[in-house]
Amino acid sequence: MTTTDSATIVMDLDRAWDLHPQVSVRPEPFGALLYHFGTRKLSFLKDRRLLAVVQALAYAPTARAACLAAGLGDNELPRYGRALAVLVQSSMVVGRTP
């Protein structure tokens, strides 16, 4: 298990991101399971709204837009940004050239 101090990671919300092509997503009542076939790591999304954000990344011009499309309020962006940063650190989410 990776113990990441998510507070120290800065997520660039104003660029385009996507799930890594080798990542599979399995929605679950509590959120989702993510499995990366390259790193063979499993992650949990503990929240259905975070799942919605992650699924919106591919089509949104920026992560911020993906968050708003998932119905998040501005005050929730920092928290969700930190969650995304953790996913970036484990290569589940990678930068995308729009």
Binding site: Y35, L42, L50
Partner: protein
């Protein structure tokens, strides 16, 4: 992320998931080896083994259920004639494969094939860092076979394949040597727990680590952290203090299960016994029907109570330990693990009377011993070796190798 009142993930997992996170699938009971501690009592092929078409139908179901990958074992899975066909079928259908082998079929060609497939991972079983320690359990020549496989995989450019070790009284002193061996081949070390399952029940008393060795193992695991995989195998050791990486949860029937070579579905790979049999993939609703509706699995997904352990200060960390280890040593399922680090299990084991009936595995595919009289003089160990039932290769925990990384508010705890 979640509201402060949301239950921890482990609590959700205790109630089970719609599909397993991963599962173990023993493809065959046939094996070229006869390891003394084989959990599936393998040796001879079962004539009722799933056909190629039936195995593919299971893979189709796993794909539909979004099971990310299967841990394939046996027996020795690579001796199945359709092994490579099934491997390719699974990965083409988005079901990743991690398979355990003693290395017998890992030729340079096979290694190259494996290295070229991102959706395959390999675990070479090795139970001693030296030939004497390994071969005493796994059979003469098995160390050389495994080393040749490791060399072939490394030469083919395969990275991060696993060296999979079942921890015993004889190899705990070799932990550093195992790590050095893994580093030498660019492999990752996996340590798993010896369970008294299958033929393991016959040798558990003499092979399972001593109490002092359990402590040594725990300290070693803490020192090596995430670089050494355990498949959540040693969660009972968390009662020493700091939790080891992993879910620290018995996943039987909740997030994992076992499919055996004839399609029987058991709660976990260490519990091949009628008591833990949930159904068969050949039933009308297939594997998913068994996973979803089996009475046994439903029962396992209800909250478990600590029983005799409930008042122990460490119950929250060890959860009473391993169900299969208790069952096959004749201990009550709602009491301590036989290797409870507080010593409660040992006390119970000592109190077992001669009349205690220890359950036997339901199936035994061990090769039958020879009936001819052998007049060759042999050393004592060789005689003892032969007296043991036949062997295989399969100390596999279904969560083996998973790096469980929760993402959300509480990133440090699953």
């Amino acid at each position: 992320m979640t509201a402060p009142t949301a239950p921890p993930l482990v609590d959700l997992f205790e109630r089970g998931l719609d599909a397993p996170i991963c599962l173990t699938w023993e493809l065959t009971y046939a094996c070229n080896l006869a390891c003394a501690h084989c959990l599936s009592s393998s040796g001879r092929r079962d004539p009722r083994e799933l056909s190629t078409a039936e195995a593919k139908a299971v893979i189709d179901e796993l794909e539909a259920m979004q099971v990310f990958y299967v841990n394939i074992g046996g027996g020795e899975p690579t001796v199945r004639a359709d092994f490579w066909e099934l491997l390719d079928y699974a990965t083409a259908h988005h079901v990743g494969v991690k398979f355990s082998t003693n290395g017998v079929r890992i030729t340079p060609d096979a290694a190259a094939r494996l290295a070229s497939n991102d959706y395959v991972d390999v675990q070479i079983s090795l139970d001693g860092a030296t030939a004497d320690v390994n071969d005493a359990v796994r059979g003469a020549g098995s160390y050389a076979t495994a080393l040749r496989a490791l060399e072939n995989l490394a030469a083919a450019g395969m990275r991060n394949f696993k060296i999979s070790v079942v921890c015993t009284r004889h190899n705990i002193p070799q932990l550093d040597d195992f790590k050095a061996l893994a580093d030498r081949f660019g492999a990752q070390l996996r340590l798993t727990r010896l369970r008294p399952s299958g033929r393991g029940a016959d040798v558990w008393d003499e092979l399972h680590p001593t109490a002092a060795q359990q402590r040594e193992l725990y300290d070693w695991l803490l020192a090596h952290g995430e670089n050494v995989l355990t498949g959540d195998s040693f969660f009972h050791l968390s009662a020493y203090g700091e939790a080891l990486p992993g879910l620290n949860l018995c996943g039987a029937g909740r997030v994992v299960c076992l499919i055996d070579p004839v399609g029987d579905v058991y709660a976990c790979p260490f519990a091949i016994h009628d008591e833990f049999l949930a159904g068969n993939v050949r039933e009308a609703d297939g594997f998913s029907g068994v996973w979803r509706d089996s009475e046994l699995f439903r029962r396992l997904r209800t909250p478990q109570h600590g029983g005799a352990c409930a008042s122990c200060a460490f119950y929250d960390t060890c959860k009473g330990g391993c169900m299969a280890a208790k069952f096959f040593t004749g201990l009550p399922l709602d009491g301590p693990d036989p290797e409870c680090v507080q010593g409660y299990g040992e006390q119970l084991l000592a109190r077992r009377g001669d009349g205690t009936r220890v359950p036997k595995p339901s199936g035994d595919h061990s090769r039958r011993s020879r009936t001819t009289v052998d007049l060759v003089l042999t050393r004592r160990e060789a005689v003892e070796q032969r007296a043991r039932p036949p062997v295989s290769d399969c100390a596999e925990h279904p969560l083996a190798g998973l790096d469980l990384t929760p993402t959300g508010k509480d990133t440090a705890h699953a």
